[in-house]
Symmetry: D3
Subunit: 143 residues, 6 copies
């Protein structure tokens, strides 16, 4: 795995570990809560990941957008769905979000390339994750 995504994952993992090993109990609790919130419940984790992508984009945080694009792709979000999500972001957040959408499109391209090559990444709990989940058949349709 090479390129920007690899760099992103490496820095993210290394620094999250540092935050959690050096941080106090409250920091750990926040991180735990942050994971719990996005599991399947009344709303699917897929829908919640899409919500997070929208929230990250209107708050204009590139690293968050990158992470949620990856997670959404893992949940089987299609390009057509991504672009409708970008519409929502653009209309609610305005043209100030456009530079972030430009970078999102580039990131999405790298995600799709890796997925096409069947590359995987380590999940939070160390298990291997496919770059894309469409082929796993576990994807839940939104419509």
């Amino acid at each position: 795995m090479a390129g920007k995504l690899a760099t992103f994952h490496e820095f993210r993992s290394r620094m999250n570990e540092k935050l959690l090993s050096e941080g106090n109990l409250q920091l750990k609790r926040f991180f735990n809560l942050d994971s719990q919130v996005y599991t399947n419940g009344a709303l699917s984790s897929r829908t919640k990941e899409l919500m997070r992508l929208v929230a990250s984009a209107v708050l204009r945080c590139d690293d968050c957008i990158t992470y949620h694009l990856i997670r959404c792709a893992e949940e089987g979000v299609t390009d057509e769905e991504f672009f409708e999500t970008f519409n929502v972001i653009l209309i609610v957040g305005g043209s100030i979000t456009i530079p972030h959408l430009r970078r999102a499109v580039e990131t999405l391209e790298e995600i799709r390339e890796k997925g096409a090559k069947g590359e995987t990444r380590k999940g939070r709990n160390g298990e291997e994750r496919k770059g894309r989940m469409e082929e796993t058949g576990k994807r839940r349709k939104e419509k």
Copy 2:
């Protein structure tokens, strides 16, 4: 129809009309685009309304939250789904969103009361809309 929601609807309609009647072509186009984006497509309008609710809440706009709570309720979003949405808002946006969630809970209560009484409101295009859509059977399940 009485209370805060009625006041909200009345002011919103009156001022939107003013904006559109006095505004220029570009303003009208933005409003048109704003409607088009939320229709059913690759993503359901229900999912998009939930996205808008999240975006409005992390950007902390009370009027937007009110409007999207109403729209989500019309799309049949359940209380359990609303509270999972509030979790996403709270985690991404932090405790600064709590005062908005307090007001959201109050608004939601008024929406449910009206729905229970079978009250309707005028939709954008003048047709009557039910306060809730659950009983219409047209609701698409998220899960």
Copy 3:
């Protein structure tokens, strides 16, 4: 002078006085600097007031919008110019600014009504100010 604008002016003046009388030297200096920045220079105070209106609106501060609408009207900004400014706000800041624009339109209406009746308000330095400046002939054309 009655209505929302009067209430706005009264609270604003009373609290600014309190801030300045109880506040420390640095607070006074900030307020002074805040006045100096908008006087005529390489850019006209008219252009700067329009800039402030845009900044206030994309940062979504209703009180700031109200104040800068008043100041812009004093600088002779026309309705057509206001609506083109609203276009800029809407495109850059997105639909999240719409509730603020609805309130801006209502405020603008009250400003124009007062102007039509020839009402005046006290300026910062106590001198009387016309609600509108068009008739004074001192207005500088933008184009």
Copy 4:
């Protein structure tokens, strides 16, 4: 206890209860964490309350500002300290924070009046709290 502060407390308590009684486990955990973070630790709860006031003000949330003004006053923050805090808010956050500072000054005035009359309010855990803590001698000096 009367006036705006009483209304604020009543709505805040009532809606927090609703959020917690109707909300899910994650919402409760967030609220718990939100309390834990501000207890005495390496930094005093007084310093943390001042930090919260600054954060609330630069993020421009009036209800949050009101609550942290109350909490800071309970921690014995003096008017001189409040105004130096307002300086920090104003410099970092800019003139867009001024309307919030105007409302903060009004709130502070009501807090001091209540304190002078020896009024108390119910704390989170039901115990009575003094409006001000200066006279309790428990205040820790910042300097």
Copy 5:
């Protein structure tokens, strides 16, 4: 054309093309609207570009600031006018905008150097554009 500006232009053009070729109709419409809004009207496109610069800076988007600095320079905005604009940004948005102003000053320097060398860039519609417009005599004076 070399340096940061060239890199900026290249990435911006390439990704805008991707967004527009892969995006849906609503995305295209937003981009169209985004162009229409800044043409000459009741307000000059020069004034509108200055407004956009202010909006971008108080919302703290470096790429947007870079683009609007370029566009403002093309509209003949002088250094004196730029620095008065920076004053407005700094006062409204606070010291949090300073890092963006530092980068803006560096960008402006590169823009002026290119202008002095008579370099041009491709406009949106493919026609060549001068780096500066002062010498073209088409500049409209603000004052």
Copy 6:
């Protein structure tokens, strides 16, 4: 002095000089005021630096965070205190601040390494400053 911090200091100093030498009187006044506000007063400069760190982080400005981490370290803020400050940032500002905290932890690491090597940096007024102040004995305890 090498690495990211050195690059940060170099760019910051060079561009501040440019802003001040080319900027107008109002810009200089803002910069002066920005320094005055953080000197010892009713609140210690240490407390004010911590406030600035919180404000910078919830407003999500990496350069500001870097600068205030350096300044806080100079004021003798300990790692335990930094992590409690990160708790406040995380709770108030939400998970959207996490990428900034990851970078903050990396920056803090570089600051501590330099401090351990006894490296110094030039202060605003040209005098040499220690990377850490703990050993100078001038540190005022918070608790």
